[in-house]
């Protein structure tokens, strides 16, 4: 085949690029396809299944054949369409799905085996055999399958997302879309006009058809200039609107720098994902030409007739030297007229119809065309390039390009995506949009208006004069009878008419089954040039009118969307936000290894040189019980509960009593879910008569707030209570250990720290230098301990000042590991025990069970909730001096450690420096009656098990005397 450029003197900037290792020249504005055609390249790839040689079929995003790999630095991007890829200096592209080269592809042998590789091949071949057969062949099939090759290096491009709001969204900037944009912009509405191409204008680009006294390019240029003067108009070229969602919401991808050279693109956003929300929507998405089916219709050189026209009009590139056109309708004559206007000769026209319309006759006359009537192409001849076509009368016409027009398919994907059922139209033999659910209109070719004048008038510019144009005049013949050669319906997935026949034969009648059984329409091109012809074949097979065969529903995306674009900028450190305490930098400066607790970041341990995590937490926990330690507890949820009904409200949400809590005292509280299980726990302090400060676990802070808000807003609006989150207002630390009082007595003033003046569970205000603080005598660790809270901006200073004050007592900062160790040693429950399946009694908190009514009480009394055989909280001590793995199952005998009946599981574990043993908390069936028994903790996934003794969960200082000194 010998494509060529009409004139080398285009004035456009030359561009140098590589394809399959060879360097070529193109010009700025070329796609890879137009540049390759200009250089006489025919063969661009191999088909999916049969590895048949393939060439360029179309000139747009409907392309089924010419998908290539693009080299981007270290990365390889597969499945890029040559027909939409704008070339730039340094572009490097390669054919895909072929080895060693597109010219000689080893897997072409598949073509010989094609009678075996029919629809349903895998199912028929491997179903019913043992799994071994499939597993043997699977690796080879996997290697041969697929199209492009994915990169394994991280994507180094920058992407971002953006939200766009407007009054009118217009999808498609052809004549209809541009007209609509002008009309809408004039009303003052916020208008967004999007088009997938770099250049707006659609079919008018390069068109010589007269419009308002100008040619296509002139008119488009003038309108776009007008649109740019409106500041309520946003133009989005290179933007594919790929999905239509509820509430007139659309997904789109704007290709910001894909067309730039590597150095020009450096540092720029590569693609931008847009979510567009519009009050009104105008879909002007145009139509795609459809082919006619005949023998070996996939040969390189067989193209859509309008693509031949497009390459000439838009790019100045003629795809071949001997062009034959094949048609069942009049639109082809418009393309031929455009080619004629540029002196591109047409060897012959093969017209299925017997007469010519006036328009076609005029074109024939003007360009002296040779037309065969009542004629059809039955077979294309050629391997890696088209050599000739055979007509139904037996004649052979040599040619290197066959332009085929079987009519036009309105592009109704977006309409269909949101549930619109398409309606078949006899005059165009294709489908039009049906009734929409949302507020949109379809105009122009996508609703079957193929005339330019109709497009303009539907866009609101009825008064614009256009030159005469033909009607479609389509003869509904799409599938030529032939016994020779393969007739491809879906080029990208290599689905032939015989596959459709086979599907019908095997009982896959419904169009949904046809699609999935044959994979027709399921490739990257989503069957854009295949679907309607497939319905024609199926309707003939089933002897039903096409309207009864049915249609499948289109799903987003219209065209492939990169995962990078969908992620927007949310990767790496921007994947999710981090919530830091005011002491964050101090922790890092002092060797803290941090850990995530939801969005919060907390110190896990403060490692000293040479320490492992385990070494560190053992040292920290021991230091707390030995002298004094401090831990950052800022992340705990804090909610102010305010109002005259606050005590009553607390009384209703907690299991224990609240009405009589004195001002200046704190109390531990347990909260249930409505279904009677424990939800959360914490301490709540009475700051004033009608003002309480509730603390929650870090993990449940948001959930508890929501729970309280629901009760107040929906259930008890009559209660005069307000809840306000103050988690961010306060920075806090716990200071624990026998010397904690001494440290605070030294550092604080305006407060009496003695045991008498500051009893257990009291809350007092104090000053730490100039910092106002609230001090609560609470203990999670079981040691003499206090929580110290200050307004957040003072947090760092508060922490550091107390740290300095504690130097005389060897104060040790500790993290979440040691925090855990200390509370496990005391048998205090936390997150792992509050797993939503435990009751107050299960957790040994029966003392907190009040007599009054509270949330969750009625359902907590169900038989299954009070059964003695429930899993109850116990302690475990390792009898083998081994760490007990959390999540281990408890079994009664050694014989059951790989297969047995679980009696419960381990919830929290640690090495206990206080006891010198490995311990754990666990929930064990009827556990409280098994104290002293030996059972086994087993973890079959890691083949670990050991003997453990069941003990009371309060391992260390069981009477709690240490907190009360």
């Amino acid at each position: 085949m010998s494509g060529y450029r009409l004139t080398s003197d285009t004035g456009a900037t030359p561009v140098s690029f590589k394809f399959n290792g060879k360097t070529y020249q193109g010009v700025q504005g070329d796609t890879l396809a137009s540049a390759l055609l200009a250089n006489g390249v025919t063969l661009v790839g191999r088909s999916f299944k049969y590895h048949r040689p393939r060439g360029i079929f179309s000139a747009g995003s409907e392309e089924p054949n010419a998908a290539v790999n693009v080299v981007r630095g270290d990365e390889l991007e597969p499945n890029t369409l040559a027909t939409t890829l704008e070339i730039y200096n340094g572009l490097e592209a390669k054919s895909q799905n072929c080895w060693p080269s597109v010219d000689f592809d080893v897997n072409a042998i598949n073509s010989l085996l094609s009678p075996i590789f029919v629809a349903g091949f895998y199912y028929k071949t491997f179903m019913g055999t043992s799994n071994k057969h499939w597993m043997f062949f699977e690796k080879h099939i996997r290697k041969a399958a697929g199209m492009g090759e994915a990169s394994v290096t991280a994507d180094s491009s920058r992407y971002e997302k953006q939200n766009v709001f407007c009054d009118v969204l217009i999808v498609g900037a052809g004549p209809a879309g541009i007209s609509a944009a002008l009309t809408q912009a004039a009303t003052g509405a916020r208008v967004v006009l999007a088009d997938e191409n770099a250049q707006m204008g659609g079919a008018l680009i390069g068109s010589t058809q007269e419009i308002a006294g100008q040619d296509g390019d002139g008119w488009v240029r003038e309108q776009l200039e007008k649109l740019k003067t409106f500041d309520n108009v946003k133009l989005l070229p290179r933007t594919t609107v790929y999905g239509y969602y509820d509430n007139n919401t659309f997904g789109a991808v704007e290709r910001v720098s894909d067309h730039l050279t590597t150095s020009e693109a450096k540092g720029k956003i590569r693609q931008r994902h847009l979510v567009l929300k519009s009050k009104k929507v105008i879909l002007a998405t145009g139509a795609l030409e459809r082919p006619i089916l005949f023998g070996d219709n996939d040969r390189p050189g067989v193209m859509l007739a309008s693509a031949v026209g497009k390459y000439v009009k838009r790019y100045g590139v003629v795809p071949g030297r001997e062009i034959v056109m094949f048609t069942n309708n009049d639109s082809i004559y418009q393309e031929i007229a455009e080619l004629g206007a540029r002196n591109v000769p047409i060897k012959a026209v093969v017209d299925l119809r017997d007469t010519l319309s006036d328009y076609a006759a005029a074109v024939k006359e003007k360009y002296n065309l040779r037309i065969y009537h009542n004629a059809a192409v039955v077979r294309a001849v050629g391997g890696k390039a088209l050599k000739s076509v055979i007509l139904n009368n037996g004649e052979t016409l040599t040619c290197d390009v066959l332009g085929v027009s079987g009519g036009w398919t309105p592009t109704i994907h977006l309409q269909s995506q949101q549930g619109d059922k398409p309606v078949y139209d006899e005059t165009i033999c294709s489908f039009l949009p049906g009734m929409g659910h949302q507020d949109y209109v379809s105009i122009g070719a996508c609703k079957g208006s193929f005339d330019l004048s109709a497009c303009l008038s539907e866009g609101g510019l009825a008064e614009v004069r256009v030159e005469d144009e033909p009607s479609l005049n389509i003869l509904p013949v799409f599938d030529i009878e032939t016994t020779k050669g393969k007739k491809f319906v879906d080029l990208q997935h290599d689905v032939k008419t015989s596959d459709i026949k086979l599907a019908k034969q095997e009982g896959f009648l419904s169009v949904e089954h046809l699609k999935r059984y044959t994979t027709l329409g399921m490739a990257n091109d989503q069957g854009k040039t295949a679907n309607v012809n497939a319905l024609v074949v199926m309707s003939k097979e089933r002897q039903l009118p096409i309207t009864e065969v049915g249609t499948t529903r289109f799903r987003p995306p219209y065209a492939p969307v990169s995962i990078g674009a969908l992620s927007g900028g949310e990767y790496g450190e921007h994947f999710r936000p981090t919530r830091r305490t005011p002491m964050h930098e101090w922790h890092l400066d002092h060797g803290a290894e941090m850990i995530n607790a939801g969005a919060w970041v907390r110190p896990r341990v403060y490692k000293k040189a040479g320490e492992t995590v385990t070494d560190a937490y053992i040292r920290e926990a021991a230091a707390v019980r030995e002298s004094v330690g401090m831990v950052d507890v800022t992340s705990l949820g804090k909610i102010e509960v305010i109002g005259p009904d606050a005590p009553e409200f607390l009384n209703r949400v907690y299991t224990n009593a609240w009405l009589k809590l004195p001002v200046g005292k704190a109390r531990y509280g347990v909260m249930l879910r409505e279904d009677g299980h424990v939800f959360d726990d914490g301490t709540t302090w009475r700051l004033e008569e009608n003002r309480f400060l509730m603390t929650t676990t870090t993990a449940n802070a948001a959930n508890v707030l929501t729970h309280l808000e629901f009760l107040l807003d929906v259930i008890w609006p009559e209660l005069k209570v307000k809840v306000v989150s103050v988690t961010e207002q306060w920075a806090g630390l716990a200071i624990a250990g026998p010397n904690s009082r001494a440290v605070l007595a030294k550092a604080l003033h305006d407060v009496d720290m003695s045991n008498e003046a500051f009893p257990f569970m009291a809350v007092q205000d104090a000053k730490l230098g100039d910092i106002p603080v609230k001090v609560a005598r609470l203990s999670f660790s079981g040691e003499l301990a206090y929580e110290v809270w200050c307004p957040s901006h003072y947090g760092y200073a508060m922490w550091d000042q107390l740290y300095q004050a504690g130097q005389d007592f060897n104060i040790t900062p500790y993290g979440t590991e040691a925090l855990g160790t200390l509370r496990i040693e005391k048998g205090h429950i936390s997150g792992p025990e509050l797993d939503g399946r435990t009751t107050v009694d299960d957790l040994d908190l029966g003392w907190a069970w009040g007599k009054k009514d509270f949330v969750g009480k009625p359902l907590a009394g169900r038989d299954g909730m009070v059964d003695e055989d429930r899993l109850k909280l116990v302690g475990l001590v390792s009898k083998e001096e081994k760490a007990i793995r959390p999540g281990s199952q408890i079994v009664l005998s050694n014989a059951e450690t790989t297969l047995g009946v679980s009696q419960g599981h381990v919830t929290s574990t640690t090495y206990s420096p206080a006891l010198g043993k490995y311990i754990a908390l666990a929930l064990v069936k009827n556990g409280r009656n098994k104290i002293g028994e030996t059972v086994y903790a087993t973890y079959p996934l890691k083949n670990e098990s050991q003997a453990v003794e069941i003990v009371k969960p309060h391992f260390f200082d069981p009477d709690g005397s240490r907190m009360h000194v």
Binding site: N247, E674, T706, F710, D713, I715, P858, L859
Partner: protein
């Protein structure tokens, strides 16, 4: 999906948290009957069509809204703030 919050205006669904069936009436706080509570906590109809439900505007004004949504089409036919509904009955 978008919900037209009476205070904040039209917002994307991601700003809200679904909060349950709004047709269920919670038994009185001091009602001891476990069956009534069982019904409130567990039993739900699953209507095809209009469904009244609570949505919490967690990323916005944090009101609870009663939304009537069609479970087939997700079309929302009405949105009312619980606060406004209560004002009618409480005061």
């Amino acid at each position: 999906m978008q919900i037209d919050c009476p205070f904040c205006g039209k917002r994307d669904q991601s700003e809200f948290t679904y909060s349950g069936d709004a047709t269920k009436k919670r038994p009185d706080h001091n009602d001891q009957d476990p069956q009534a509570w069982f019904d409130y906590v567990y039993q739900r109809d699953n209507p095809k069509g209009a469904h009244q439900e609570y949505w919490h505007h967690t990323s916005g004004c944090r009101q609870f809204l009663v939304v009537e949504r069609n479970t087939m089409t997700h079309k929302i036919s009405s949105v009312q703030a619980v606060g406004d509904l209560n004002k009618g009955s409480a005061e």
